[in-house]
Symmetry: C2
Subunit: 374 residues, 2 copies
């Protein structure tokens, strides 16, 4: 078994950074990886009931067999449960179980257990060491890398949280075999984003490889994971707290988060981001920031991957815009957008802030064209 | 006006550290201090209703007059409200008010608004800049320095929280004029702790100055604040995340937290710590770690300051010990105590871990003597 090792360099962090390990079969090697990267007398595995049903027994057995004391804390799956209430319930269960400040947390599952487990780790007794073991494509290439943790509030996604870097991230593409097709597609949206903001050739490759990726071809998926993690790791390195270029990773996410919330999470995160990227590219094109044709190109790739590319007709454009205003990227009352100059090149924006403050009216002009586009 | 400036050096932190400003009249200078140390388009002042009643109007007027946009978020005073629920309510109110990621938080009040406001700052949109403006003696010399933030859970104090360092701490001893006597005394307990763990001469001075301190003498209080903050800043510097010597600051707090919780917060934190220091010194004496006579010396000083020095008779020793087991300092099932070798000298403990794992039975032998001591 040869694992890829991708470094995240964090000069401002005490440990200096960490490595993301990618390779088929790594899940079985987790006990020795924990001993090496995150030794602890006791581990809290935080996951959801769907992942627990598939993998928790195997995980517990492996860890117990290696002498690792392990407790599994599973909550009901779904973005609707990524809340402060679930965080409090998991925290209290860990306190009841007597886990102390010397324990470690394993965030095990898709983006929801990863974000919520990470936030528990960030706040339990003022912080426990964390290892991320993602099981969805989205979590493998995006959510588990970079140290963002948090939960949603009624006002919007990820509005409460913390930066809390993992000791390591263990990515085993074999776990994708149990991932539902819709979730595989949704994960591919974030890979498209990585191509769109940083690597045009990678986007070409994704487009060409769409059939293999959608069929779950192990080699294609592993290659995609490695390249996406490389891009994300490179962007996160040197901008741990998202003061600059890291903001590019929010491309598609301002409109995306709004649409996702309005759908009441009927749209998967990746589906909403797919829509968001096309809409935000159109906004950029209208302002002359994004090269003409960029939104059309993104729409073509996303369509090949079976992803939606426009806001559902029943959504109200004004409602979407209203929702963007509670986005974390809003500053001093103006919403900031991460935009691209062209496919493969992010826009540094005015004053190199990597964010474009854009008036609601401009976004409204683009979004209100939604209906006529059908 | 001459302000004392005391540096907290944090080599592992991006900013490298911060300064604590101590001086009479600094409260009025807050607008310019904010402009210099924590510029932001908008400030969220987090406080409790008692502090708000006394000072919020003055604070808002000062900040508004200087052109700082300010919103005040006040919750009901008291340790019983330092909860996840209050944290969520304050967070939601800030979201409703439209505060974005570029805003800053001012933790304004005693230890409770400081800890809770700090935890809001640590977690609101993954972290806002924070300035602490303590109004109680305990917050001035202890809680506001060092970056510990958090809230209580039904299982114990500060079990959920984060390390989140302030940009600066602004200490104006004039604000103590409105502090109730019992809270002044409770704050002095933490000063005794600073003497006990690090500076025997300081403890002598506190004992001699007891009448002046209890009478609210401005010069004596200012001198006490400066020396206590110096000691705390020196200990926190170089041990931001409490991996080593910083644990000494927990002297008196293992038994203290347990007693405080069992009293249902009828005992003030400082009163509980006073009791805890005497009991933990007795535990140390019994184990031969702490020099004979230390507990008697501490009891004498604390008594002069009008503080309690033994566990209330109606408390059950077994209940206190049970409660220590949910303390954050419990590791792998054993409770760790910070102890002193003698007055003015903390104990490095086995393997230089600055913590002594002590069996419940040993603590029980000391505590069960409580009744017979009367």
């Amino acid at each position: 078994m040869t694992a890829h090792r991708i470094a995240v360099s964090l000069p401002e962090s005490p440990a200096g950074g960490y490595e993301i390990l990618v390779g088929g079969g790594l899940f079985s090697a987790l006990p020795s990886i924990l001993s090496r990267f995150c030794p602890a007398p006791r581990y809290a595995v935080i996951t959801d009931d769907r992942v627990a049903e598939l993998y928790a027994l195997k995980l517990s057995r492996n860890l117990h067999a290696a002498g690792h004391r392990t407790d599994v804390f599973a909550f009901s799956s779904g973005e609707a449960n990524k809340t402060r209430d679930t965080w409090a319930v998991v925290t209290d269960a860990m306190l009841e179980a007597g886990l102390g400040r010397d324990c470690a947390v394993i965030g095990f599952g898709g983006g929801v257990p990863g974000d919520l487990g990470g936030f528990v780790a960030a706040t339990y007794m003022r912080g426990l060491p964390l290892v991320q073991v993602p099981t969805s494509l989205l979590a493998m290439i995006d959510a588990s890398v970079g140290g963002k943790t948090g939960v949603d509030t009624p006002m919007g996604k990820n509005l409460v949280g913390a930066f809390h870097q993992p000791r390591t991230v263990v990515v085993d593409p074999d776990l994708l075999q149990t991932l539902p097709d819709a979730h595989l597609r949704a994960g591919l949206a974030e890979a498209v984003k990585h191509g769109a903001i940083a690597d045009a050739e990678y986007l070409d490759w994704i487009e060409q490889s769409a059939p293999a990726l959608l069929a779950g071809d192990a080699e294609a998926l592993c290659r995609l994971i490695v390249r996406s993690v490389e891009i994300k790791a490179e962007i996160v390195s040197g901008d741990e707290f998202e003061a600059g270029r890291r903001k590019l990773l929010n491309f598609g996410h301002t409109v995306g988060h709004a649409v996702e919330a309005i759908s009441d999470f009927a749209l998967l995160h990746g589906e909403a981001v797919a829509i968001g990227m096309v809409e935000e590219a159109r906004v950029g094109e209208r302002l002359g920031i994004t090269a003409a044709g960029t939104s059309a190109r993104l729409r073509r790739v996303l369509t090949r991957l079976g992803l939606p590319t426009s806001i559902p007709l029943e959504f109200d454009a004004a409602g979407v815009i209203e929702r963007t205003r509670t986005d974390k990227k809003a500053r001093d009352g103006r919403v900031e957008y991460a935009l691209v100059e062209s496919v493969g090149t992010g826009s540094a924006g005015p004053h190199g802030r990597w964010g474009h403050p854009i008036a609601d009216e401009t976004v409204a002009e683009v979004l209100s064209g939604v209906g006529s586009r059908v």
